[in-house]
Amino acid sequence: MEPTKLTRDDFRTYRPLAQKLACDHLDLLRSLPLVLSAVLLREVIDFDSRFPRERAAIEAQFTFLEGLTAQERGSLTKGFADLQLQSSLVDEDWVQHPQKFEEDLSAYLWASKQHDAFRIVATQFAEELAKATPPSKPLARRWVVVVLGPELRNDHYPLFRKLRPQGVYYPKVETDGGMQTILASLQKRASDVSLAYSHWYVDGGTPESNQPADVSRFSWGQSATLRAAVLQKVQAVIDSGSGGPEMLRSIMANWALEGSKAQFGDSLVDQFVMSLYGEGSGTQIFSTTFVQWAAREILRRAEPVSLVARFGPRQKQRTMNQMFTPSASDTTLDFEGSLVDADFGAYYTWINLNRLPNPEMATFIAWSEAHKQAIAIGPGCPRGTEAPNSTSLSRLLQI
């Protein structure tokens, strides 16, 4: 279907906020090239499960596009209109299933050698959008703490190798209260700046019992039931012998949209965790991947001002089919490998923090509880330096 034929009735299956948004901007959706219209609907269809900042960004996109003259809009989106689409793509139900359309489009662009052209067009569009809708400054300096949990140990691995050039390396850190000290700092920040989904705690094992209030939180340990459900879904596809990875991805993405059972006392957080399991790669089997991807997605989607992410040990590698079996025990843990995963996960968390507005003002700390080492990056932390004396964790957190 061409976008010009869109009607309000096409959105009747959308959830309430998404339906209203689509109908409010129906004229715009009708006027856009099919690819762009479908990509926008991919964002609209799960509008109800988006965080406030994401909703604002989506609305800003519509406002920006509607503020352009028809000629300006045509010029900006010409690259999308110029993409050659095969008829089967155009005929797809991209309104009800924009996720599937996006996957099929991606495969088609690769196959038809238009992927690079799409990259250029999409990059230009994103840059124009960013210029027109500059991100707002955070309400407070961002503060991200990554913890490499106490069981993660590997005496032959140089910690924070990728991060050390960016800040101050602390080879001796006095634990003094450990995780509770960190969560107390998080609690204080949540009290100082009270805004929903601005403060997060994600744990790759069992979370601390004394959890801070007014903080969005979830954990690998407490989402075991959800994980079992997703693995069951995966196993059903594997057992059928007919579903390839693409079908599996679509099935999982739809599953993530189906709605959730309450797990963490907040429906947006519940749906967010479902999306981590449904859309993530490896999040269902390795707790280290779960935490790394969760931190990335929290930063990208919620743009918080505070985040504490603790890595726990992951299971040892077995065959993929075994790891995808929900009933298979995963009690054999790989502590050394987990430390390496977590160390790199800390690096990726820092990279993702730097993609948010005003990264120069942000504070990033990674701390290994077992090795009593840390790295601090941010204002007042000279790059590529090493602290000569031991430091307490409390002092680090005040940077």
Binding site: D116, R119, F125, S242, G244, S281, Q317, N321
Partner: protein
């Protein structure tokens, strides 16, 4: 499909620089014949004297974990053993689809294939095995593919008219061999050898091993079931099993054209960085092992050219559309650009080729070395090699 928020146009230059710098550092520490021309007069000779072994990685490895100065400990075999003996292409660009089966098959046909990566279908264009066998009237046992991935079972021959499976390579899937050899064996003993790539766990359920695999094992490889199973138990991964099978194939059949695909690195898709590093280190060791097997086998020593190349790269850390090492989905420079080592008796040793070449150049180059034509393949013969 996330919109990329930042382009990375300088990545390509950076990649090439890294590899050139890497080679300079390696050369400085090498005592041997670095940059000494080692070209012999090219003998016309009979075809029977020439052999080619191609090793590809299904799951590229990035410079950050291999060639970067602080990552070279992950590839000691390549640095100390293979590199000083090779002509090294620092910029091999893959312009095709970045999925392992379709990309590896494209390397084998010399045409960027566009079929669904997960379909496992035979390619529409002739493979180099078909050109080789048809042009030179070579028997079926002279060309083989060994792949740990069951999804590669149709890589040996195309559906092209005038070519096709009758001229294709034999395909050995070592995991299938193992399943056929030890049907009742406790699975836990073989877990590490039966690992699937993260992206295709579904394939095992759909396929079963049987008589064909047993025939391959007993008639081609001349393993006894017990011997094969016993040795397999001493190995650590699916790729090690493949190299073990390759060694036996070289001893028993000595094919002139053999292609080994290694996949351990592709565990990166699960997001576990430590397992990705393990895969790189194992692949490095196995490449040296294959080269040593070539040198130790009189059927191969002194007349074999070995090509080593990843099928493509992996996403850079700088592209927000990806998640760094985990995938190869963005199509950025890092994911498209890789390298190739060529070693052999007439190959210049310690040479670095900076100019960009295309992944498709492999087929016509192998054709020139072995003396067959590749009329339907794209790409160009690499003058640095022939």
């Amino acid at each position: 499909m996330n919109f990329p928020l930042r382009s990375s146009t300088s990545q390509l230059r950076s990649l090439v620089w890294n590899r050139r710098e890497f080679l300079r550092l390696a050369a400085a520490s090498a005592v041997s014949t670095t940059f000494t021309p080692a070209l012999r007069a090219r003998g016309v000779g009979s075809f029977d004297r020439r052999k080619v072994v191609i090793v590809t990685f299904g799951g590229g490895a990035r410079d950050e974990e291999t060639f970067a100065p602080d990552a070279q400990q992950n590839i000691p075999g390549m640095i100390k053993t293979l590199l000083p003996q090779s002509t090294f292409f620092g910029q091999v660009v893959n312009h095709g689809i970045l999925g392992h089966y379709v990309a590896t098959t494209s390397l084998a046909t010399g045409v960027y294939e566009t079929f669904n990566n997960f379909s496992g279908v035979a390619p529409p264009h002739p493979t180099l095995f078909e050109y080789f066998r048809r042009d030179l009237s070579r028997p079926a046992h002279d060309a083989w593919v060994i792949s740990p991935s069951n999804g590669f079972r149709n890589m040996g021959g195309s559906t092209a008219r005038r070519y096709g499976p009758a001229f294709g390579a034999g395909v050995i899937l070592p995991k299938q061999l193992l399943e056929a050899a030890a049907p009742g064996h406790p699975t836990n003993d073989f877990d590490r050898l039966l690992r699937d790539t993260y992206e295709e766990p579904h394939t095992l359920a759909a396929q079963t091993a049987g008589e064909a695999e047993l025939r391959q094992m007993e008639e081609i490889l001349r393993f006894s079931r017990d011997e094969f199973v016993h040795h397999a138990l001493s190995l650590d991964s699916a790729d090690e099993l493949s190299v073990y099978v390759a060694r036996q194939l070289m001893l028993q059949v000595a094919p002139s054209l053999m292609w080994i695909t290694l996949h351990d690195i592709d565990v990166a898709h699960s997001g576990a960085f430590s397992l990705y590093l393990d895969g790189i280190q194992r692949t490095d060791r196995l490449c040296v092992e294959i080269w040593n097997q070539i040198q130790a086998n009189p059927e191969y020593a002194g007349k074999t050219t070995m090509f080593v190349l990843p099928d493509f790269g992996r996403d850079s850390d700088g592209d927000p559309a990806g998640n760094g090492f985990q995938h190869h989905r963005t199509g950025d420079a890092a994911s498209r650009t890789t390298w190739m080592m060529v070693l052999g008796p007439e190959i210049r040793q310690g040479a670095f080729v900076q100019r960009p070449i295309d992944s498709l150049d492999l087929v016509p180059t192998v054709g020139r070395i072995l003396g067959f034509s590749t009329p339907l393949a794209d790409g160009s013969v690499l003058p640095e090699v022939v």
